[in-house]
Subunit: 408 residues, 2 copies
């Protein structure tokens, strides 16, 4: 069987999906702000939602929709500019009205559509604008409009995020496509992260949900750790079966699962790379932990430490801050067993700490690594054999500027 192939595509690359977009005045800066995704056939659907206690109206509605109907989904309506969060009963009604109005344009039932919103919290959706946007977007539907949908869901993103990959299976090939948007420092205070993934494979809803959960853990959840998600975060996966190919054997299943993970991984990586004010992409590998959970807790604490992130912004190999952050993750370990290395893709890593104390590394060499746009940090706890990887960015002046005047 041939290998998977990344193609120049988007969420509409799988057979039978089309998209449309419109500018209806939800974004202060103007531009496309409403997207429709439509499948000509019923889709099975899988979804993973935010674990935040405060959830936006569309999340409440989509949970309800998924519970009632996981096998006859026809599309998604998404808006950017207003999150429809902290909007109470009126907000929930607006989400339902959006679903209803979109259904009329797409000639399906409301419960066949998901609704996504991202943007400012605490503002009600202007329904007249939404209705006009739906009218325009539905008359714009085309199989080539995935990129327009990717554009329409952006908030503080500086570029659209999309991908499509061909997956050879026994008897032919299927495609997995996706778009995403992210903003904020991603973790721990990410503004909304949304991702829509489509495929023309034929997959029952139960299996689809399992595949999505598995794919998200080491990808989206490693830029946005469990529980640390915003009011709106949602990843949706629709499978419309238009290829008429299903995952008939273990090889097909493994192949599809691997590519789905790759799609999630690339989209997650694009979100981090486009992190607000980010000047660096930083991979943090924590190994030698007793459990993956402990490894992830340590990696997440390092990844979110303002002192670590500002040092990264300053090209400062201040590894003491990495040690300190690791030490306050709530994970017990012996400081005298800790090793730390820094490098960049393609380099051989520089050993900074062995047995909890600094090596005699050359400062200039460390500064050179910490000055790179892409940095790999590796902390070994010396306690066991579990590991986890997190992706993060540095914390820059630009981040403070963007977030000090985002709303007003």
């Amino acid at each position: 069987m041939a290998h998977e192939t990344m193609i120049n595509g988007s969420v509409t690359s799988p057979i039978g999906f089309s998209a449309g977009a419109a500018a209806c005045g939800l974004k202060k800066a103007g531009g496309l702000d409403l997207a429709l995704l439509y499948s000509e056939r019923d889709c099975t659907a899988a979804a993973v939602f935010t674990r935040n206690q405060v959830v936006a109206a569309p999340v409440i509605l989509d949970r309800e929709t998924l519970a009632a109907n996981h096998s006859r989904i026809r599309g998604i309506v998404a808006n950017a500019g207003i999150a429809n969060a902290c909007t109470g009963e009126q907000g929930l009604l607006a989400a339902r009205q959006t679903q209803q109005a979109a259904a009329e344009h797409l000639s399906c039932r409301p419960e066949q559509l998901f609704v996504l919103s991202t943007g400012v919290i605490g503002v009600q959706l202007p329904m007249a604008k939404i209705r006009e946007g739906l009218r325009l977007a539905s008359s714009d539907l085309a199989g080539s409009n995935g990129p327009k949908a990717a554009q329409a869901i952006m908030t503080t993103d500086t570029r659209p995020k999309q991908i499509a990959v061909q997956v050879p299976l026994a008897g032919g090939q299927v495609i997995i496509g996706g778009i995403a948007k992210g903003s904020g420092m991603i973790h721990p205070d990410m503004a909304t992260m949304l991702a829509i993934i489509t495929t023309d494979a034929l997959i029952p809803a139960g299996l689809l949900q399992e595949l999505l959960v598995e794919a998200i853990e080491p990808t989206f959840n490693c830029i946005s750790v469990d529980g640390d998600t915003s009011t709106n975060d949602t990843v949706l996966l629709l499978a419309n079966g238009a290829s008429r190919l299903s995952l008939v054997d273990k090889e097909s299943l493994d192949r599809f699962s691997e590519v789905l993970r790759q799609v999630c991984s690339e989209l997650a990586r694009m979100i981090v790379l486009d992190g607000e004010g980010a000047s660096k992409f930083v991979e943090i590998l924590v190994s030698g932990a007793r459990t993956r959970g402990e490894a992830k807790a340590v990696a997440a604490t390092i990844a979110t430490s303002p002192l670590v992130k500002t040092a990264l912004a300053g090209n400062d190999p201040n590894w003491g801050r990495i040690m300190m952050a690791a030490g306050r993750a709530g994970v017990p370990f012996d400081q005298n067993g800790v090793g730390l290395w820094a490098g960049y893709p393609g380099s051989s890593p520089l050993s900074l700490v062995i047995g909890g104390t600094p090596t005699d590394y050359a400062e200039a060499e460390a500064v050179a690594i910490f000055s790179r746009p892409e940095i790999n940090l590796h902390l070994d706890l010396g306690q066991g054999s579990a590991e986890a990887t997190m992706w993060t960015t540095d914390l820059t002046h630009e981040y403070v500027s963007i977030n000090g005047d985002y709303r007003t």
Copy 2:
């Protein structure tokens, strides 16, 4: 009995304490960097140390000292500029040598002295400089030198932090004095926080430890939540009994306990006010929680949210970020029961959110509050009757600058 009186004093205001300081070349910028505190009488001692897994050599040594000798302490040696953390066996030896050398100058036994360090991690103490500093500081000992000691323990602090309060007891009065240093964003990534508190009251070591733990919980621990402390954080309390007054009745005990808490509270407040790059002092009260622990978890998540802190820096009443941060604290609550108010000391608070949705507050009024140098936020979860208060600062460009080039 008269009320307690704040006096213009420091850690040497209680009878029988003296201090000395020296510049021995540990701080790159120069200036006082080594302090001695000395009591002419044996002291009972209490201490609270960092809960970080990575602890500096002086913390290891002081835990050992306190366990072996909690009633015959004679003083403290503290240095700034080098933290003596991640320094392994050599660092522990250096801490012991510091203790030993100081004991020779003060004519006591090494185990009668605590050792404190703060500064850069991963650098060995230069013992020749330390020895010279000890020689100079010990010949500088005077009852008026508390302020010099406060100066000598500073790192990125912009001003010394000290306080002294007279406590009237049955039969006379005692004094509680203290100095502190803090830096970093305090929480969650505080660089070292050190505090030394002294009193001339006569208090057995067991009671002293109880009193300190009680005083720290709502003060130092509400700027630096349990477990979220650096490699060196230490609060020491010495009682030398020179007043010959003890806490003979419940009224005396309550009075002393209250003033000790006040001293800790003022020092903690000074640390926050001097937070790196801080332009605002922000008090976050979370009420209506089921337990104090849950209230504190929510308050701490808000207090450390980069998106909340950058909005504060930008004078932006972006309360959606406060709701979002509360929602990801890992504490279950019903978003439709949440209320949020903002104000400043002396104002009547402005209601921003009731029942999880925004009120019709005037934006200009909210902006006026968020533009103040001191802001009080109050979030009610509507779940119970427990509450907790955290103090924090905003996240500014200046913070990024300070921490982007602190070390190199």
